[in-house]
Symmetry: C2
Subunit: 195 residues, 2 copies
DNA sequence: AATAAAAACTAATGATATTAGTTTTTGAGG
DNA sequence: CCTCAAAAACTAATATCATTAGTTTTTATT
């Protein structure tokens, strides 16, 4: 017996509204009460669609990771080697910039032990591995370099949005380019310069 | 007129207790009530020494940054060039590992706009710049490479503690070594291989 | 010993997430 | 069309939290 909810509320609608609210005002201003008001509903009603605030935030984080992975995948589509690497890194950086609040939620996960996130984490890696496949690396090397690349992208995005790069006048775009280029060079050396 | 507090409580004592409590149980389990209990005091009494929870957490974050900078500075003492670079990176990584909860607080700052943190942020950079001074870089290059190094260290520490590196068997120590080596190589090329 | 200030307390407020129990809506089957 | 069960929304309550106002206690200096 499939029922259609009274006023169109569902977990998906709640999640989407939560994402919107967080993107607008950030996590500190977010609350079940605020979300309920946005959905024209009493706070208690949300619990028909969501277990708890914690679960809701996990859903939001999961959604954010999916969007990030989608952006990465889109970025490398039809590209290879160095071009794919730069596009991937750029996409990551732009996501963190354009979805500041969502990126913060991703970074705020204490541990990625959640079964859903576990899966998503794997999907973060796959576009990177796909791109790395052009570099002639062993399987173990691919693991190492995928970690190094993720570290650089995440660290750069984090520092940039935290304002840690604003003390000096040098262009962050150029810092980013140099960093990616350095990794690209190291990558090519590791793989025997086949690219 | 200098008064000595009734039972030895002061901002410094409160701060230290807060740091201990956070290191033990993490930020989610931390509260003014819990802190007050630990200090054998009623919650309201804490406000004689601290403005608010927010200010207290800023103090904790500031303290954490100071400890990180101290560890970095200690690491490069008496070392130069590549040796200093590896020691610095290792110290950063170990701090994030050994003070997991404090490192999370550092990462959790929305913006480093706080005047105290502003100053501390500058001190994060100075041991790195000191180490870079051996590489024969222009001033602008130093800014870029300092950013790249910080990004790699922060990103690696973050992923490692979030569990994002645990999906594959390859040794994270080796990933880290390769990443730092890659940056060291790029750094030497940028500076004309003077090191 | 007296006093003023600091520090701790009690008690209250308002926000929060969450739960129990009740009412309302809704769609499916007779 | 009417009934009924389930889903969804509601009301009301609880417990926790940070924080503040106002009061009492302690303590160092005079």
């Amino acid at each position: 017996m499939i029922r259609i909810p009274r006023q169109g509320l569902s977990q998906d609608v709640v999640l989407r509204a939560a994402v919107d609210l967080i993107e607008e005002g950030g996590l500190p201003h977010f609350s079940m009460g605020e979300l309920a008001r946005r959905l024209q509903v009493k706070p208690a009603s949300l619990y028909n669609h969501v277990e708890s605030l914690e679960q809701l935030l996990t859903l939001v984080g999961d959604d954010a990771v999916k969007k990030l992975v989608a952006a990465e995948t889109r970025a490398i589509a039809g590209k290879r080697g160095q071009e794919a690497l730069f596009a991937l890194a750029q996409a990551y950086r732009l996501f963190a910039r354009n979805h500041y609040q969502l990126y913060r939620i991703i970074m705020a996960f204490p541990k990625w032990e959640n079964p859903v996130l576990e899966q998503e984490a794997g999907e973060i890696v796959s576009p990177i591995l796909q791109m790395l496949s052009d570099y002639g690396l062993t399987e173990e090397q691919q693991i190492h370099w995928q970690r190094i690349l993720r570290a650089q992208m995440a660290g750069f995005a984090f520092h940039e949005q935290a304002g840690g790069f604003s003390h000096y006048s040098a262009d962050p775009d150029e810092s980013f380019r140099l960093g990616v280029q350095c990794l690209s060079d190291g990558l090519r050396r590791a793989g025997g310069n086949v690219v």
